[in-house]
């Protein structure tokens, strides 16, 4: 039985390269290679411990800070816990904007409708279409980690096209106003992904919602399947 697409895809190749750079930087700042500790609390901030642990091990981390504390923390002072925002690729620039990390959050189009101008959408009828438009229903909601504060503001990529969340995000669904773009049931919808590929970004979602990127990844829900990809 294949369920609806709900995926958090971790780009392990880029992640590993980044983590190695972070480790080397810490070493060149005087940390001993033996002391590096990776923060993997909260299921590696939602990324999945199973996926992320090998990434950090390969990139030179000897210790892990888990929900239970530092596993081999005989002597706390011998561990240097790397800042989690830096480690997961969300370091901020001088303007406070963060980078985009190494995950892609994907859902599936479960219905598509062509609606007239003025069509009101979702709870409270807070949104209405400006023109005749195609709207796509996505099978993800705030219980899956699409923060309700992104209602009516966050961009979504479906296929090659960009739309905006239309109206309130519900617990398990939300609607995207796609204008005249062609969209089909079963298409993948990207909540956040790679800036280089033109996807909506987690840093933008963070700026729109006021929720830090690490809190956004940590909130990705239990129904969302974590996978690794080299792509």
């Amino acid at each position: 039985m294949t369920e609806l697409v709900r995926r958090l895809i971790v780009d392990v190749a880029r992640f590993e390269q980044h983590a190695r750079e972070v480790a080397n930087q810490a070493i060149s700042n005087g940390a001993s290679a033996e002391s590096l500790c990776a923060d993997v609390r909260a299921n590696a901030y939602g990324h999945s411990l199973d996926i992320v642990e090998p990434v950090f091990t390969m990139s030179g981390f000897r210790h892990f800070l888990t929900d239970e504390g530092c596993a081999s923390a005989a002597h706390e002072e011998e561990h240097i816990v790397i800042d989690a925002e830096l480690l997961y690729g969300f370091a901020r620039d001088d303007n406070g904007h963060s980078l985009d990390g190494f995950t892609r959050f994907v859902g599936e189009v479960v219905n598509v409708k062509r609606v007239p101008a003025g069509q009101r959408i979702s709870y409270g009828y807070t949104y209405s279409t400006a023109t005749e438009s195609t709207v796509a229903l996505i099978g993800l909601g705030y219980a899956d980690g699409v923060a309700r504060r992104a209602s009516s503001v966050a961009p979504i990529r479906i296929g090659e096209h960009d739309g905006t969340i239309a109206g309130r995000i519900a617990m398990d669904q939300f609607v995207v106003d796609m204008g005249d773009a062609s969209v089909r049931i079963g298409d993948e919808a990207i909540i956040w992904g790679s800036a280089a590929l033109g996807h909506p970004t987690i840093s933008n979602l963070s700026a729109l919602t006021g929720i830090p990127p690490l809190a956004l990844t940590s909130l990705v829900g239990y129904r969302v399947h974590r996978e690794s990809s080299q792509a």
Binding site: E3, R41, M171, A215
Partner: protein
């Protein structure tokens, strides 16, 4: 106890379900238990709700329905969000299927058999613009359903919609459309016996929305669907309480051992509080596994190491209140709490 704890009050759950059931009788309560019963624990909630007067469950997904079947729940289970290829499993497990599109109907009709027909509730979109057939698609959906029902491969037991919780007039307009859709279904030869439209909001404020069943979700968990009246005004009691211990105390602040990694929502609002006993403390910062608190007005200081802070629920701020502090609603507060936190059911 040094870890965060979710305590689920089955006394309050029972009270809420019984209160709602008597308020809407003779309409029945098809309780919404999607998303692990709004984070409360699926199987435990369903068992108590059945004792308290719910007669069926709105589960959202076929996977959740199968979990309930495996736990021995035999009540009707209604699912409405699934991939086309999940439909056969739903039929195998006698799951009532909310169907919006012709393609879904074809699969149900191809897999269902007169010995084990697909149980179907057809959905009409009455304005929410999510799932549901449009007014244009509706007549042909009904005709195809009637044809498959004659063969015996499906049985159309219900017609339903979902309301927008906007204004009472908007709900009334949607119900008008709904009644017209039911007439069309009957003209096509269907004989649905379960008409359902309202969830918590309409179910509480509009008699006309109650029909044969109300799909109460959030109200049953003791969280108001409205800004006002509050849950307390409605006679509903909070079911989920989240608490965590004070893990560190200094002269001017303390840490409480719970954070966004446990699914506690963050927000940029300074007005945010927890309770320890009968005293209120301000939350100034939320990390992955701890939150920083400081005294508020004349709350006593220092707090005791190990004292339990109520993040929300019975004896603390309500889920609705915490939602408002975070720019959202109580529904998101309760469903976001991590399924990995220890839960006690009492």
């Amino acid at each position: 106890m040094t870890t965060p704890l979710i305590s689920i009050s089955h006394a309050n759950l029972r009270h809420n379900v019984a209160t709602l059931a008597s308020r809407v009788a003779p309409s029945e309560v098809m309780m919404a238990v999607k998303t692990n019963a709004y984070g409360h624990g699926l199987v435990e909630v369903c068992q108590t709700a059945l004792e308290a007067g719910a007669t069926s469950f709105a589960v959202l997904e076929i996977a959740a329905a199968i979990d309930l079947r495996n736990a021995g729940i035999s009540a009707p289970l209604f699912a409405w969000l699934f991939g086309d290829d999940e439909i056969p499993a739903g039929i195998d497990h006698q799951v009532d299927l909310g169907i919006s599109r012709r393609e879904q109907l074809s699969i149900a009709g191809a897999y269902g058999k007169p010995t084990n027909p697909a149980i179907v509730h057809l959905k009409i979109d009455t304005g929410l613009t999510r799932n549901g057939a449009t007014v244009n698609q509706w007549p042909s959906l009904c005709e195809e359903a009637a044809r498959l029902e004659k063969i015996g491969n499906i049985r159309v037991v219900g017609v339903w919609t979902h309301l927008a919780d906007a204004t009472p007039q908007d709900d009334e307009d949607a119900l008008e459309l709904f009644r017209a859709a039911v007439d069309i279904a009957r003209q096509a030869g269907l004989t649905p016996s379960i008409l359902h439209a309202g969830a918590s909001s309409a179910g509480l404020r509009s008699d006309a929305s109650r029909l044969d069943a109300v799909r109460f979700g959030i109200a049953a968990y003791g969280v108001s669907p409205f800004d006002s009246p509050t849950a307390n005004d409605l006679g509903l009691r909070p079911v989920m309480t989240v608490s965590a211990p004070v893990t560190h105390v200094t002269a001017d602040h303390a840490l409480v051992g719970i954070g966004f990694g446990h699914g506690i929502l963050t927000g940029d609002n300074d007005e945010r509080f927890v309770r320890i006993g009968s005293d209120t403390y301000r939350v100034t910062d939320i990390g992955v596994d701890s939150m920083r608190i400081v005294p508020f007005e004349n709350s006593p200081w220092p707090v005791l190491l190990g004292a339990r802070a109520i993040i929300f629920g019975d004896g603390g701020p309500s889920a609705e209140q915490l939602g408002a502090w975070c720019g959202t609603i109580g529904d998101e507060v309760v469903t976001s709490v991590s399924p990995h936190i220890r839960r006690t059911h009492n």
